[in-house]
Amino acid sequence: MEIALRQPGREGPAPGAAPLAVALDDVSISFAVKGRPVFKAVAPTSLHVGDGEFVAIVGPTGCGKSTLLNATAGLLKPAGGRVAIFGEPLAGLNAKAGYLFQQDALMPWKTALDNVAIALEIGGARRADTLAQGRDWLARVGLARFTDRYPHELSGGQRKRVALAQVLVRDPKILLMDEPFGPLDAQTRQIMGTLLLRLWAQDRKAVMFVTHDLEEAIALSDRVVIMSAGPEARIIGNFPIDLARPRDTADIRLDPRFHQLHREIWNQLKAEVAKTYGEEMA
């Protein structure tokens, strides 16, 4: 299923023009589970993300959102189909992408600051610079006073924010974010969303943003993509978000168009989830 690329509200690259940031074509993903037939998590499905496009991915729990991000990151080899990054077929890891994992992925042996600074050091930056930038970023995510804490000394939401700083500080061309604001309160969520949008507006990264919060998805993205319940999950909905930019993530929720979109997407999603539960909980 090819998804047409329209980006209302701003000029994106027309199909066939500048290469797409991420092009998943007929990608299917399977897992070998011991003593069972192969588990086909994702059926052949296609998703194109233009350079500078912000795509939100929503779908019922366990449908294959993280799996799709893993394939885009090059951490998982698809069973079939092609993954291309800026026109180049992906071999090995996706060096252009920064990935914010769903799970805790901080290095437990580094303080919050070192966890952020290391992301820059890899590129060869001077230690003093990396520390300064690391501090700056931790302050931006509200953790100025927690720079020298080890991960196990932080709360769940604090760890997530360190991870966020760790990804953003590297300023990658493609951002893969798996429920980045999950363990944050609504208010902090909005602050982080605004931070992300500001950053994104500066140099238009391509973003693949997995979330369970539909309002958040609509408020932030250019397009909301819906996945069907697994196994053999596919992309079954594709909703361009034609809300004006720049957006204020709080105010936009008052926009009537916002509510209309929300209703539309919600209805499709609800049907999908109900289907799964109808099946499974019978």
């Binding site: 890891l93 992925a105 437990p108 890899i122």
Partner: protein
Amino acid sequence: MKLHPAKLLLLQILVAVVALAIWQVGATVPIGGDYLLPEFFFSKPWDVLSRVVQLFVSGTIWKHLWITLTETVLAFVIGSAGGVVIGFWFARKPVVAAVFDPYVKMFNALPRVVLAPIFMLWLGLGIWSKVALGVTLVFFIVFFNVYQGVKEVSPVVLANARMMGMSERQLFRNVYWPSAMSWMFSSLHTAVGFALVGAVVGEYLGSSAGLGYLIHQAEGVFDVTGVFAGMFILAAFVLVIDWFVTRVERRLLVWRPQAASEEN
């Protein structure tokens, strides 16, 4: 549940006293006509202690102690370094590991005592043949643990680091090394003892000085008191080295949460 250090020391001394008392009784009080710990094989605690004191007072021990210490430390350092390096290398190169796996295991099973003549041939009678013997013990202990330790790295943390674009060297420094550290230190505690055993056995098989030499000499003339005095010094000695290892461990592992068992 944490003990006060003074109380801990008291308990430790108590254990020593009880052990010595059992020893003394076993060596001097016949049970059913037989001694539990015949003096011919076990000497008597008091004799052993006074011999230890005498060795130190007369000063003969220092030369031997110094040689054995040098051998032990060298064996420990070289063996652990080798174990760490090869352990990491194997863990990161599954093909190399798979190919050499049976050979590593075979070498680990060779009795070192039999290899002594070969070490002597290659390395002479000086300290290096003893160091080599210690290294062959230490290496395998550290190797197997580091190898496993690297493989136990959390897959998510690793994936995250790789996505950051870390090179193999950077991964080593920032992920594999710190993650394998507690595995490594666990093996080092075993290895300290084995480094000493290697050195002493080496001296035992051929040397002109060292604690092993002393022990062997005492054994040759059935001087059990001397044997036990030598072993006692050995044992005291390993505690000193282990104390250093523990200090380094504490420093390097500050980032860990308190051990789970201490919570209770």
